[in-house]
Symmetry: C2
Subunit: 294 residues, 2 copies
């Protein structure tokens, strides 16, 4: 059994016995200070619940304030309760919304929202990755989220990495009203960057979302009602009694600990690795989340 566990990557077991070397991620995190971590803000945290459990999403209002306001209006009207996952396309996205032809009323929410696909780079605390990127002039992190930046045009945007949460739209840019929400479950589809508003990322429960049965129909939309996984509820954490909230905190990306973590992953020093990559993709930097002490 020990041998089987040793296969492919030996992080946990080797960190303790490692000789003097550049730090591993496990060592970087073990040396972190409480101030390196930031609790989730209940007013900007969503809980998506169904039979499998709870998925926790941290929203990013600094990137898509109008879109997120509309999502919150929908959520507080319990728009999604009893709806379903309507799409599961392999190596791409799962998506929830209203499967009916005659859609639920959006109530007080807007039918259209001005596009929020990028924003001014100025005013953002941006931790650069310092690595070339296949898609953007520069990548890095803002508020514990993968992001990209173009200094020339003073613009910044969130990056479509695994676990990022976006809002579906029709062809018109202002149709991303929040009534359909998707999560990336495959290799980062970065060609979607700047084409659709990203509103945050999944900080817990990706392993529940990623196993939702795939559809082989066009674009992964289920064709039969019985294929769809029903949603129980989507709630803002601030609308949930405190005792029922998930007590999570995320590693801040504007810290020396996070910069050290990037370096620990750019060149892996665990004994298993024979050739350190010397490079790292923005979507391959782990974004640590942990339970808060009570």
């Amino acid at each position: 059994m020990l041998q089987a566990r040793g296969f492919l990557i030996c992080v946990a077991s080797l960190a303790a016995a490692a000789p003097a070397h550049a730090k591993t991620m496990a060592e970087v995190l073990a040396a972190s200070e409480p101030s390196d971590w930031r609790p989730l803000d209940p007013a900007n945290t969503l809980y998506v619940e169904w039979d499998a459990g709870r998925v926790v999403i941290e929203l990013a209002p600094e990137f898509a304030p109008g879109t997120i306001a509309n999502v919150k209006t929908l959520v507080q009207q319990k728009y999604f309760d009893g709806l379903a996952f309507i799409r599961s396309q392999d190596n791409y996205v799962v998506q929830w919304g209203d499967p009916a032809e005659a859609k639920r009323s959006l109530g007080a929410a807007k039918k259209t929202v001005p596009a929020e696909f990028s924003r001014a780079a100025k005013g953002l605390t941006f931790t650069p990755l310092n690595n070339v990127d296949a898609y953007a002039p520069e990548t890095g992190f803002v508020g514990s989220l993968p992001a990209a930046r173009d200094a020339k045009s003073n613009s910044a945007w969130l990056a479509h990495c695994y676990g990022m949460v976006g809002v579906g739209r029709d062809n018109a840019a202002d149709t991303a009203n929040g009534s359909e929400i998707y999560v990336v479950i495959g290799h980062g589809p970065r060609h979607l960057d700047r084409n659709v508003p990203l509103i945050g990322r999944v900080v817990q429960g990706m392993d529940l979302l990623s196993v939702i049965p795939r559809s082989r129909a066009t674009m992964g939309f289920y064709e039969k009602a019985e294929e769809r996984t029903p949603l129980r509820s989507v709630r803002l954490a601030s609308d949930v009694p405190e005792a029922e909230r998930s007590r999570l905190e995320v590693l801040r990306s504007d810290t020396q600990t996070f910069t050290a973590l990037i370096e620990a992953r750019r060149n892996r020093t665990e004994e298993w690795f024979l050739v350190p990559a010397g490079h790292i993709d923005v979507c391959n930097v782990p974004l640590p989340v942990r339970e808060r002490a009570r």
Copy 2:
């Protein structure tokens, strides 16, 4: 329903009605010639079967001949029959092998195999992607597989993209003997490139592999027997009666059709896209597979 299907990406519905523009992938494939496609070689095709169905893997002996020879020896001894998926780590890999502490005998297969993590670039037909890459000096395609190349050192290697198949190893480089095989089910872990032998890719059935329940235990190894999904069999296609073989063909990457496909994906011209990316990551280039005509 039509509106729901229009959300996020409208490829299929728009291709037919598209105005004069650079071709979409659908249009490129529709215009392909039979000679742009290559049938799978039964002697280098694996079928992995369990309750969910069949996964088809195309092997890449030009990159890992010794490792693949050992895998074939194991497969022809029916080494994997009745074993199980022993690992499912979210955004990383699923892996099969022997979960028992006392492992099955490898029989005629070797316990160690000289490392095949890269090879000489010379002699390979390499279709360059012409895009910067986060990890390698150059990326492209060899035999319908994502690959990387370093002209300076005359070396080439396969890239850890979604669906790529590798052989687990212990810390020593020569321990990748084929008794544990993994498939990438998340964002391409390119830091594994040149650290482990890639032996091919899944050409059909990724949607079965990707929903295997995740384990939250260390490195995604299941801790309890009842969590593991049992394997029925792993076979070489050439050992399966012809009537039971999957009749698949893949788009050759050494064709003008494939080069046109890359460009169709580098700048998406479907009406939904408002900002063409202008760039593409090697792991985001689709590698088309289709049923062969009878």
